[in-house]
Symmetry: C3
Subunit: 126 residues, 3 copies
Amino acid sequence: MNQFEVRTESHRQMVDVTRQVAAAIEGAGEGICHVYVPHTTAAVVINEHADPDVARDLIAAYEAMVPDVHFAHAEGNSDAHLMTTLLGSSVTVPVEDGRLRLGTWQGIFFVELDGPRSRKVWVKVY
Amino acid sequence: MNQFEVRTESHRQMVDVTRQVAAAIEGAGEGICHVYVPHTTAAVVINEHADPDVARDLIAAYEAMVPDVHFAHAEGNSDAHLMTTLLGSSVTVPVEDGRLRLGTWQGIFFVELDGPRSRKVWVKVY
Amino acid sequence: MNQFEVRTESHRQMVDVTRQVAAAIEGAGEGICHVYVPHTTAAVVINEHADPDVARDLIAAYEAMVPDVHFAHAEGNSDAHLMTTLLGSSVTVPVEDGRLRLGTWQGIFFVELDGPRSRKVWVKVY
């Protein structure tokens, strides 16, 4: 199991971690790369990383989608738990010749939903 | 393939199945645990299972997020199909030494979206 | 890695690709089938494919869920990027005796969110 750290700087933030994931699987040959976030208020997604406006738009939209209901959880971050379950705690990407086989425009984003914090990402090829 | 049953008691309900999944993979050594829900109106997610308020907040939020559009499907449960596709039919978790390697606060929840019903969960380590 | 093409005909559309995935894994024995979409404005989900009204309802709901916020991305398709991250870029399904082990009502849908376009789907059993 490879692990790397992500230090987020905002309450909500998308962090492009494609390079870190690629480095973590070097020499892994062939298989399926599992990128796993061991937190309950942060997620991981695959999407466009060429235009940084896309990541900003996503964060704005995630915030706007949180419904106006009464949340009981005393920590006050149920919105972050909600978006985490919708976005997901892991992604899987094909690996060939020790390299991530992503689509042309795809990158891997760590999604901070209740930061800033120090976070971890676990990576392994199966 | 291991399988266990979940009997849900409400129309919408999050059921913590972390123990059942852990039991299903005992002795599996190392790999990736695939937890699969073979239904179209129930899902599986990973999130906090320490404070039961989180699960209650999530259910309230899922219901509130269903948009007010006309649904054509005659069974009248398109809201459940919708939330199933957003939450997902499977999760994957690393396994080391025959044990689930979840984050500190993470548990695995079966998400009933059109109950109460008798449901199945399939588990296997690859 | 197996690959097949999907030619979508509408701006938003769910395309049942269960048969193409099943054909792509023939002879694969046992494992986990990874269905991967290498695009950033198209996704893949598992849901009911018996009644075509379900797929129509899902598309209507996905559109209605996009929040009314200002999107900065100049291409004007941030709504499609948003729904892609919520639905996901891959699904995983158990394979036994070279066949997909889906639930009774489950099918695999390619979800076009910014078409019509010519798209690709990657399939492999691990």
